[in-house]
């Protein structure tokens, strides 16, 4: 019995003591937590101080780096100052115009030559006020060139005729326009430099050359006609063995006659002698067909076929435009003739006519060898031939080299654009002509959209 009570006593004792121990521990933990809480503001202050010191450290380090860089380059800076003066002198006395604008389009540099070219008086004094480019040089083309260079970060080139502003509107002195070529160069930080070249002389020479060629062509025309007549008269009277030579003679005369004709035509269309266009409503699909009919004999020899693709929205009957029919006929004839010449046998030539954004698009695509990349910018020049070795072989009906030049003249007369490229699929020539589209149905104000007014 005593043993049982003793056991009970021991159990109660252990429970009590463990309870005591737990509560003591709990109180200690509470006290610890309280103590930690009280110490927190100090820790926060410390952390803030150490953060501050970290920031200062970084600042000092950056400053140190900066000053060390500055220290090493100090003599170099003096050198740069000297070289800058030299460069400024070079720019100032350069035989070519140079202007420079900063990121706000304010003029910072303008040398003697550019000032003379652009009729800027007293440019050195004027530059101190940092005027805007357009204040001094009223040229939209130049402003456009600056913008294009800045946005693309690469230099470009543009040609235009600069018309200086009339200094005194009350007493207007007629100012002569000056053809100018500008090369831009991007200088970083939004700054753009522009070299200005006076093209007056070059244009004058080109005009003289064109006039001379056309004069010569005119003088050659009459004797050529009589030579041909004589050759034709002889042809019937010579022996059959000699006839072959006379035939060849006539062929060569034909060639030279067509060359002279081309030259005359070009001379007529030259700038300054702008002939009036006889504008009429022309159905383009019919025009293409009639051109092809003319060329069919040559095409059949090579078994080359034509693929005509009209506009999706406008039927062939409706696809009309206000153009000079004979000139557009000549244009298409030249292009297609060229395509046939360069197209391999059994291939087809594609001609696509479409209307996009009030622009008439005419594209011709052949499957020939195309233009070499370096020739793309020159193909519309007179007497330019892609392959000089083929020029006068006679066998290949080598063209006069004027076909594309005439084509580009015709397009220019119609205020259009002509672009030569190589087609990515066929690899052949791909000539795109853009003409302003004047649909006759547009003259009716109630029908704004041709695709709506003519349900197709």
């Amino acid at each position: 019995m005593e043993l049982l009570w003793l056991l009970v006593g021991i159990i109660i004792g252990t429970i009590a003591s463990s309870a005591c121990w737990f509560s003591w521990n709990y109180a200690k933990a509470q006290r610890n937590r309280k103590f930690r809480k009280r110490s927190r503001p100090a820790a926060r202050l410390k952390s803030l101080l150490s953060f501050q010191s970290w920031v200062l450290n970084i600042k000092r380090r950056i400053q140190q780096d900066y000053s060390s860089v500055a220290a090493t380059t100090d003599p170099a800076i003096q050198n740069i100052d000297k070289t800058q003066i030299i460069w400024e002198n070079i720019v100032e006395s350069a035989p070519i115009g140079y202007v420079q604008v900063d990121q706000d389009n304010r003029l910072t540099v303008c040398n003697q030559r550019a000032a003379a070219m652009m009729h800027i008086s007293n440019h050195q004094q004027g530059l101190k006020r940092k005027p805007f480019l357009l204040q001094l040089i009223r040229s939209y083309e130049l402003d456009h060139l600056v913008e294009a260079t800045r946005s693309q970060n690469v230099g470009t080139q543009t040609d235009w005729v600069f018309h200086p502003a009339i200094p005194d509107p009350a007493d207007p002195i007629p100012q002569q326009g000056r053809p100018i070529r500008a090369f831009s160069v991007y200088l970083g930080m939004g700054q753009v430099g522009i070299y200005l070249e006076d093209r007056q002389e070059a244009i004058l020479i080109a005009q003289q050359r064109d006039r001379w060629t056309s004069d010569v062509a005119h003088e050659l025309k009459t004797p050529l006609t009589s030579i041909r007549l004589v050759a034709e008269t002889i042809e019937a009277r010579v022996e059959p063995s000699v006839k072959i030579w006379v035939d060849r003679l006539i062929g060569e005369i034909d060639r030279i006659t067509s060359l002279v004709k081309d030259l005359l035509e070009l001379g007529q269309m030259d700038v300054g002698l702008a002939p009036a266009l006889s504008i009429s409503e022309v159905n383009l699909a019919d025009l293409v067909r009639s051109v092809w009919k003319t060329l069919e004999p040559i095409a059949n020899r090579k078994k080359v076929s034509l693929k005509y693709i009209g506009d999706e929205h406008i039927s062939d009957e409706q696809l009309t435009a206000l153009v000079d029919e004979s000139r557009i006929y000549r244009l298409l004839l030249n292009l297609l003739d060229n395509s046939i010449k360069h197209s391999p046998s059994l291939q087809s030539i594609t001609i696509v006519i479409s209307v996009v954004n009030a622009q008439l698009l005419i594209e011709t695509i052949d499957a020939g060898e195309g233009f070499p990349e370096e020739a793309l910018s020159n193909v519309f020049e007179r007497f330019y031939r892609v392959d000089p070795s083929r020029t006068r072989s006679g066998l290949d009906r080598g063209g006069s080299g004027l076909g594309l030049a005439i084509a580009s003249q015709i397009v220019a007369l119609h205020q259009g654009k002509i672009i030569a490229k190589n087609h990515p699929e066929t690899g052949g020539a791909w000539i795109t002509i853009t003409l302003p589209y004047q649909n006759p149905s547009n003259q009716n104000p109630s029908n704004q959209n041709p695709s709506l007014s003519h349900p197709s």
């Binding site: 820790a43 410390k46 150490s50 953060f51 970290w54 970084i58 959209n449 709506l452």
Partner: protein, 330 residues
């Protein structure tokens, strides 16, 4: 159907234009609020400055479309193809783009706040200076996660956005604002986060290996179990950040501020910690084998049970720090 006919029908009250072919249509500055253009073909259409609020574009094809300056607030664009579309400066607030394809799209300066961008393909997209605040970009179960690999998010506003589980590998996030954003389980491998602001952002379990985090602000950010292997944290501010069990081995932390940071159980082996401020940081159980601690400030830090074997400690400040053996350094 032509654009003119569409606008006339719309003006007369028609709203359902599903499965229409409007490729290359010119709808400049037109008003099509609330129209239904489900499965419509709008390839290369011109929708510049158009009003398209609440328009339904589900499964529509808008590849190459010009939507510069268009208003598309609350539009529904689920599974829409917007690849290579131009959305420069477009308003896309609360738009639903679930499952859309925006690869190589231009979203420069666009406003996508509160937009739903789950399971979207944004590979190579330009999101420079775009607003993506509070956008929903998290991974959805059963769908592929949103991919922004190679996207340009330079100076984008991603405050409060949820980007859980997305793929941001190789993305440019320099100068972006990621404050309060959730980037848990995100793949940021090879991304550029230099100069980014990410206070209180969550990066738990995300992959930040070889990431450029120089001069970024990660105050109070959570990097729990994140992988920062080989990352560059030069001059980064990690004040009070939580880096528990993170892997920061072979990383560059020179000059970084890790004041009050929690680095419990994290792996800092072979990392470069010269000039780092680790005052009051918790480095319990941290693994600092062969770390470079030259000139680091470890005052009042707790280094209990930390492994410092092979670590370089030339000029390191240990004042008041609790050393690995439990004793306080004096």
């Amino acid at each position: 159907m032509s654009a003119e006919k569409l606008l006339r029908d719309y003006a007369s009250g028609r709203r359902d234009f599903a499965s229409l072919n409007l490729a290359n249509a010119n709808l400049f500055n037109s008003d099509l609020i609330g129209a239904n253009l489900t499965k419509a073909d709008l390839r290369r259409a011109n929708l510049v400055l158009a009003y398209l609020n609440k328009v339904t574009f589900n499964h529509a094809n808008l590849s190459g479309a010009k939507l510069g300056g268009a208003t598309l607030n609350q539009a529904i664009m689920m599974s829409t193809n917007l690849s290579e579309a131009d959305l420069h400066g477009a308003m896309l607030q609360r738009v639903n783009l679930f499952g859309a394809n925006l690869s190589l799209a231009n979203l420069m300066d666009a406003n996508l706040s509160e937009a739903d961008l789950r399971s979207v393909n944004l590979r190579g997209a330009n999101l420079r200076c775009a607003i993506l605040s509070a956008a929903l970009i998290r991974e959805e179960r059963g769908y592929p996660p949103t991919s922004m690999s190679g996207a340009n998010l330079c100076k984008a506003d991603l405050r409060g956005a949820n980007l859980t589980g997305t793929d941001l590998s190789g993305a440019d996030l320099s100068g972006a604002n990621l404050s309060e954003a959730t980037l848990a389980k995100v793949n940021l491998q090879g991304a550029n986060l230099s100069g980014a602001i990410a206070t209180n952002a969550i990066f738990t379990e995300s992959n930040l290996s070889s990431v450029n985090l120089t001069e970024a602000n990660f105050k109070g950010a959570n990097f729990n179990r994140a992988d920062l292997k080989n990352a560059n944290l030069h001059l980064t501010n990690l004040f009070g950040a939580n880096l528990t069990k993170a892997n920061i081995s072979m990383a560059t932390l020179s000059g970084a501020g890790l004041i009050q940071a929690v680095l419990t159980g994290c792996d800092l082996s072979r990392s470069l910690l010269d000039g780092t401020n680790l005052s009051q940081a918790t480095l319990v159980d941290a693994y600092l084998v062969r770390a470079n601690l030259d000139g680091a400030d470890l005052s009042d830090a707790v280094l209990t049970r930390a492994e410092l074997s092979g670590a370089s400690t030339i000029g390191t400040i240990f004042s008041g720090a609790t050393m690995p053996d439990g004793k306080i350094h004096s």
